[in-house]
């Protein structure tokens, strides 16, 4: 134990020096350090490690790790210390520990492993952790402190406390305090439980559970209370997480449905190829990434306008070539556009591939936003949620505040009257359909970040989209937003106890029944005009 304590104290004293780069002009001091370690007899190994750690050398971590893994060897002939990269087979791949330069293969007979005994090995983890705890990067320090939770022993208490006094970052301090508290609870310290009661980390809970089972009654009671508090907080966090996943799924539904809310809801055109317009948007993203290899972020951002244009153009073609001839015949429109959806799917299968394509998630969208130990929000979903809201707000603005929106509303309410007032109804039809289709393309761009991009992508969303629009009340954009978000949330709430498939079935059946009860959805349009 002695070695650790003295070593870590030393380390902390050296903490300020740590950031300095290793000074190696003429002769690398690392060479001597490694040589000493390799030469040291069993009794002197501690000293040699001590020297390496306290040297402040940036490479120290790698060396000690290699030492612990039996990957530090000496070349018998020259006595040079090397890192063994691969120790399978007869020839081992080795590297220079000072420069990292690969030295190729060498027969294992020519190498001599630097010996390590089990006592030292047992301490290496702690040594490494302390090394990390003194790293310059607070993230590394935090991870290291988190790693120590539950592993703290008596020898680490003093160095940790010392580190705590120096530590500037609040989250690292919290971690160290928690790690210490776990140790102290084990020692029967009542106050330490208060510290753990504020933690959501599983190891804190494990320590408290152990205290409950332990033979100290006062400790057990208090630990039990603390566990209760934690459980409450966990419940809240789980609820928040479900809500987040629900809103995320909901935002996907909203994105998929909002274009339909325009073409179906406002114009009354049943476009069964809507899903395939979404698919086109997703494939546009894939295509852009092929155009800009290595720059997925740029490609994704460029996909937003491009995906819109591609889907809008496809929409215009569909409108001009088929839908305009089926005005006032909704059931025929439904069938014809379904046919178009089949053609588009098969087109993608034939031209691109029947297999799914991989769309890369740019770095700034991957990973997650960590709120606490029990709750972290995946960034890609967060972006999609925000994107959905932006798209919705923009559409709202277009429909409410622009000339186009006014004309659309005029044409849908009374086509002939609108025409006689000089509105070119046909042009409005085209523009509206293009807008709805373009939004479907945007949905595809966003979906490419969440799901597989394949020819069946659209099919998976078309029924859901229609359900959302109908549930929300046809012709009501707000209804679509609320319906989408709430259906997503309901689905996620059901999932834990019903399973994904059953949850979906339940939601579908729920909507089917709901529509029977209120055929006009959540937010119906009232009045004589709506009767038509």
């Amino acid at each position: 134990m002695g070695i650790l304590r003295s070593l870590t104290l030393l380390l902390i004293a050296l903490a300020s020096v740590l950031s300095l780069p290793a000074t190696a002009q003429d002769e690398d001091p690392g060479e001597q350090l490694l040589f000493n370690l390799a030469e040291a007899p069993a009794s002197k190994v501690e000293e040699a490690i001590n020297a390496i750690v306290s040297s402040g050398d940036e490479r120290a971590r790698g060396w000690i790790e290699a030492y612990g893994n039996n990957r530090l060897s000496r070349i018998k002939d020259t006595g040079q210390v090397v890192l063994v990269l691969n120790n399978r087979g007869r020839d081992w791949e080795i590297a220079n520990p000072l420069t990292g330069e690969n030295m190729g293969d060498m027969s294992r007979r020519e190498l001599d492993r630097v010996a390590i005994n089990n006592r030292i090995r047992g301490q290496l983890e702690g040594i490494l952790a302390m090394l990390d705890l003194n790293a310059a990067d607070p993230d590394v320090r935090e991870a290291s402190a988190q790693d120590m939770m539950g592993k703290v022993d008596a020898s680490l208490v003093a160095p940790l406390e010392a580190r705590l006094e120096q530590e500037g970052s609040a989250r690292v301090r919290n971690r160290i305090e928690e790690a210490l508290a776990i140790y102290r609870v084990g020692e029967g310290n009542l106050e330490a439980i208060d510290v753990l009661a504020g933690s959501l980390h599983p190891r804190a809970r494990a320590a408290l559970n152990e205290a409950v089972r332990g033979d100290n009654p006062a400790l057990a009671t208090k630990a039990k209370q603390a566990l209760g508090t934690i459980e409450q907080k966990l419940k809240l966090n789980r609820a928040a997480e479900t809500l987040y996943f629900g809103l995320s799924l909901g935002s996907v539904l909203v994105l998929a449905a909002i274009g339909l809310a325009i073409t179906f809801g406002v114009m009354g055109v049943i476009n069964m190829a809507h899903g395939e317009l979404i698919m086109l948007g997703a494939y546009t993203t894939w295509g852009m990434q092929q155009l800009f290899p290595g720059q997925p972020g740029l490609a994704l951002i460029l996909s937003i306008p491009t995906g819109f244009m591609v889907a809008a153009t496809a929409g215009i073609i569909i409108e001009r070539s088929v839908i305009q001839y089926l005005k006032g015949r909704p059931l025929e429109t439904l069938l014809a556009t379904f046919g178009i959806s089949l053609i588009l799917q098969q087109l993608v299968r034939t031209v691109i591939s029947p297999q799914n394509r991989t769309v890369v998630t740019p770095e700034w969208m991957s990973g997650s936003l960590v709120i606490n130990d029990a709750l972290s929000l995946t960034l890609n979903r967060l972006y999609v949620l925000a994107f959905a809201l932006v798209v919705f707000a923009t559409l709202m603005l277009i429909m409410r505040k622009t000339r186009l929106g006014l004309e659309v509303r005029a044409v849908t309410q009374n086509r002939n009257m609108a025409r006689s007032m000089g509105i070119r109804a046909t042009r409005v039809d085209i523009m509206t359909f293009a807008l709805g289709s373009g939004v479907a393309g945007l949905a595809g761009v966003a979906l490419s970040q969440l799901t597989n991009v394949g020819p069946n992508l659209g099919q998976n969303y078309i029924i859901d989209s229609f359900m959302v629009v109908v549930f929300g009340g046809v012709g009501n954009l707000w209804g679509t937003l609320i319906a989408g978000l709430s259906l997503g949330t309901i689905n996620q709430l059901l999932e834990p106890w019903a399973g994904a498939v059953l949850a979906k079935i339940i939601v579908l059946v729920f909507i089917i029944l709901f529509i029977q009860k209120r055929p006009k959805g959540l937010f119906p349009q009232k009045g004589r005009a709506a009767e038509g």
């Binding site: 349009q525 009232k526 009045g527 004589r528």
Partner: protein, 274 residues
């Protein structure tokens, strides 16, 4: 299985002359009674505290500018629209607010739509056949047979509305005026106690209008008729009692002369029309 059973009852008599549903009780006054009726669509008051009574056997004309609430009033009486408040009675026994359209129709209220609505894919004869007052439940309809007396009754009505020659033509090929007549004929087949007629002469020639006026006046007495019409000449030719609707409530009521001299009415409606 019960379908097959019905087959054995081919000789069952469905007397179309039998009184439909429970008889309307008019001993204690009017056949139609509306009180304090209010309807609003999204904040717009289509009907505003409407009170209206129609006596048994009366021929009543309802006039009023566009948006006065005439069609909505019809919708309420026939069960298509439910008012927010108020009461609507058919005779003194039937609360119409508790009934749906088919129930109300079988009680004996017939309606002619503003836009002539006939079944265009069926022949004139078949249109009248469907309107005939018979058992309108599913199985009786499925096994229904065309009895000679039914045929006679239909031919009689065809005669009345002057469409004998078009008997077996699809209703879709009829002219606008002929469709109006067919729809009136369908009303006659229903043998209703109360006829609601929405703009019966729109699109008719002078001659056709005259005959329509004749027909409607001849019906009054046996049946009660409520006519909604824009054509002032037509209203003048048939009206005994006129009600003026304005902004969802009754503005004036009386004979045509009384009403057309009412300064209020002249201001909102007649003044602009004549």
């Amino acid at each position: 299985m019960s379908m097959l059973e019905q087959l054995t009852h081919r000789d069952r008599v469905f007397d179309f002359l039998a009184p439909v549903a429970s008889p309307v009780d008019v001993r204690h006054g009017p056949i139609l009674y509306m009180e304090g009726v209010n309807v609003s669509f999204d904040g717009f008051k289509a009907i505003n505290n409407l009170n209206l009574t129609v006596d048994d056997g009366e021929l009543r004309c309802i006039i009023g500018p566009n948006g006065a609430g005439k069609t909505t009033m019809m919708d309420i009486i026939t069960g298509k629209t439910r008012p927010d408040t108020g009461s609507v009675w058919f005779g003194s026994r039937h609360n119409l607010l508790t009934k749906n359209e088919p129930d109300i129709a079988s009680l004996g209220i017939g309606r002619k739509f503003q836009k002539p609505t006939v079944f265009e894919a069926l022949t004139v004869f078949e249109n009248l056949e469907l309107a005939m007052a018979t058992d309108k439940r599913i199985l009786p309809t499925l096994t229904a047979i065309m009895k000679p007396e039914y045929r006679d009754r239909i031919d009689e009505v065809l005669q009345t509305i002057g469409l004998q020659k078009l008997r077996d033509k699809l209703a879709g090929i009829l002219s606008h005026g002929q469709k109006q007549w067919l729809e009136i004929g369908m009303l006659l087949m229903q043998k209703p106690r109360l006829l609601l007629v929405d703009e019966p002469v729109a699109g008719m020639t002078e001659q056709e209008m005259e005959r329509t006026a004749e027909l409607l006046t001849s019906l009054a007495g046996k049946q009660s008729v409520v006519v909604v019409e824009h054509d002032m000449g037509f209203v003048r030719s048939i009206a005994r009692q006129v009600t003026v609707l304005h902004q969802g409530s009754v503005l004036a009521e009386g004979t045509m002369d009384q009403v057309s001299n009412d300064p209020e009415v002249i201001k909102v409606y007649l003044g602009e029309e004549e």
